[in-house]
Amino acid sequence: MRLALHAEWTKLRTQPGTAALLIGAVVLTVGLSTGVAAASSTSSASDPAKLALTGIYLGQIAVASLSVLVMGGEYSTGMIRTTLGAIPRRWTVLAAKATLVAGAAAAAGVVAVLGSLLAGALILPGHGFTVAHGYPPLSPSDGAVLRAAVGSVLYLALIALLSLGVATAVRDSAAAVGVVLALLFLFPIVASVVSDPHWQRHLQQIAPMTAGLAVQATTGLRSLPIGPWAGLGVLAAWAAGWLLTGGLLLRLRDA
């Protein structure tokens, strides 16, 4: 396993685009968060922590791309045959890749989340989110804000794992990215069209993005379709399911 990790780390490190995508994830996240915070007003939003972390919507796309390329890239170049020739235990290869992409996503996530919260803490008080108006300051010492911050980092790591699982199953980068983004984006769009409140709630409960991002909520937890940690659990289940599917297919199929 250590050797597999080392090999995968070398590949990840030297693969063109890794650094760009990780930096991209951070820049996109902080950029969108800052923009949204600058355009915000207390009349349109009530949850400053969630508002300050809006950039995750954009950042997750870069993380998903990176993760898909880690597996899909090997299939497009034929590198996968070398990899599996060197390390025949396929679950080990997948586990090594999973560890690394989750770690990389979490590392980028920590920077992105801290940057977003910092931007939010600097900008939001100027838009009415002050203690005087009943909004506590955005500080990680606040339990709910800490949960939103840690949850967002974990969310990115889980998105990376989900994407890796999809890419392993699909074996084509472009198609895999399509599947991942469809999984993330289609549920909320369909949920917004369904008029039956029960169906809407259920769709929001099983949707990987909607449920997973419930962890960002710090106010109005009662009205959420799913609790913060339970929501992240739903995303974890999606990621585990796809990793398992991908792993089994990797084990059963020829490369």
Binding site: G17, G35, V36, A39, S40, S41, S44, A45, S46, K50, L51, T54, Y57, L58, I61, A62, A64, S65, V68, L69, G72, S76, D172, S173, A174, A175, A176, V177, G178, L181, A182, F185, L186, P188, I189, V190, A191, S192, V193, V194, S195, D196, W199, Q200, L203, Q204, T210, L213, A214, A217, G220, S223, L224, P225
Partner: protein
Amino acid sequence: MSATITPYRSQVQAQAARAGFPQLLRAEWTKFRTVRGWMVGLVVAALALVGVGVLSALGSHRSCGGPNGSITCPSVPVGPEGGMVTDRFYFVHQSLAGDGSITARITGLSGKEPWSKAGVIVKNGTGQGSAYAAVLATAGHGVRMQYDFTHDTAGLSGAVSAGSPRWLRLTRSGDTVTGYDSSDGSNWTLIGTAHLAGLPSTVQIGMFATSPDAVQTTSSSFGSSSTTGGPTLATATFDQVGLQGGTSGAVWKGDEVGGAQGGPVVGSGGPGAAGSGATGGNGSPTSEGFQQDQATGAFSIRGSGDIAPSVGGPLGDGQAVERSLVGTFAGLVVVIVLGTLFITAEYRRGLIRTTLTASQGRGRVLAAKAVVAAAVSFVTGVVAAAVALPLCMHILKANGNALYPIGLLTEVRLVVGTGALLAVAAVLALAVGTILRRGAGAVTVVIAMIVLPYILATASVLPAGPSEWLLRLTPAAGFAIQQSLKAFSQVAGVYTPTNGFFPLSPWAGFAVMCGWAAVALAVAGYLLRRRDV
């Protein structure tokens, strides 16, 4: 002569000339159709478009709460022009046989909503949805002349008060009803003329008051902004009411048009009733009704509801038909992947070198690919939408939903527009794929350009202003082509994209998306010519 000098070269040129654009198109089409995964992909795109729509339709039930649990919803009234309407107001009226006119001075209007309104009206009976023409004062938009629900013309501006009253007049002559207003009762200004086709000889003429439901938007958790509204009441005072023509004398009748069925009809009053203001309603100021002051002849009318087209949204009675096409997003993702792979697969396999060697002009290769990608996506989208739209409309209706009726032209635009949306998305994906030469990157970029702005704009994470700009400037503006509802300035509706209203008109929004595709295609063509492969 030149042919004899360089016979060999001319031969090559003749051959090259034969490999024209049609041959290029045929080559690209052959490449597309012989990859089994791509043809399967087209089928998947069509099935996804239909399937997601059917699923969402199955999950949309309409039920109305009654005193004993949910009941069958009452049918939504339909106006003379075929659209769904709201037609609830308090009507103080009498019959008018043949031509005639009504003049009244309105001295006060208390209603908190900007479109609380009261005035004089000529209407074909007291049934909901019947033809009418009215001159009315509003709480926030001055005097208006409105007829047959959708038409609205502005008259005098400013609010009504005892200090600045408004004189309103309607004259009926055959099918034609003409509206006038005046600030002093002697100098009259023509506001407009309404032709109410098929207006019978005997109509109801009188005064009315009404006030629409309050609209209050609150942002909530991801995905929806809930709107709560409650009924409001407007009270209007009229005096110096004058009738001309074949009316039934001085006996006024009060009716709650569109009122609760089976409920007590709020009383009919008249000048013959004893005392001042003893008739009409139950005396409570919170209910609809009317009173007439015996001494001055002044009327006080309280009404609730609206006389206006019904618009979508949480307060609306119906659903927009384009909800049937929500599967477009699923089809779009598949088509984007296919459009990207159509070029990036050539880079990955090295086929691009053969392709570019075999044909003259790299720009023409790209153009041929764009035509093929657009054509197959268009056909897929049109076929899928032509199935999904009627199928989902059927399911939605079976589930008790009232759908806003659309004309045949709109229906055609929705179906063709869905195909066009997929076609332009495929071309955009092809162009970005040519620029980036990487499948995963291109798919990510294109989906982030088209789908993500729509989600950010509709998920109530952004304030209204930036949300609207996202749907004006990004390729997501193209979804406007699927909108079927019309916004009416005389209704304070919730005109958000979630409810089917886009900041741009259908074709303008689509043009924005086409602009993006054109720019991307131009950049792709430039880079394809400049770069080695």
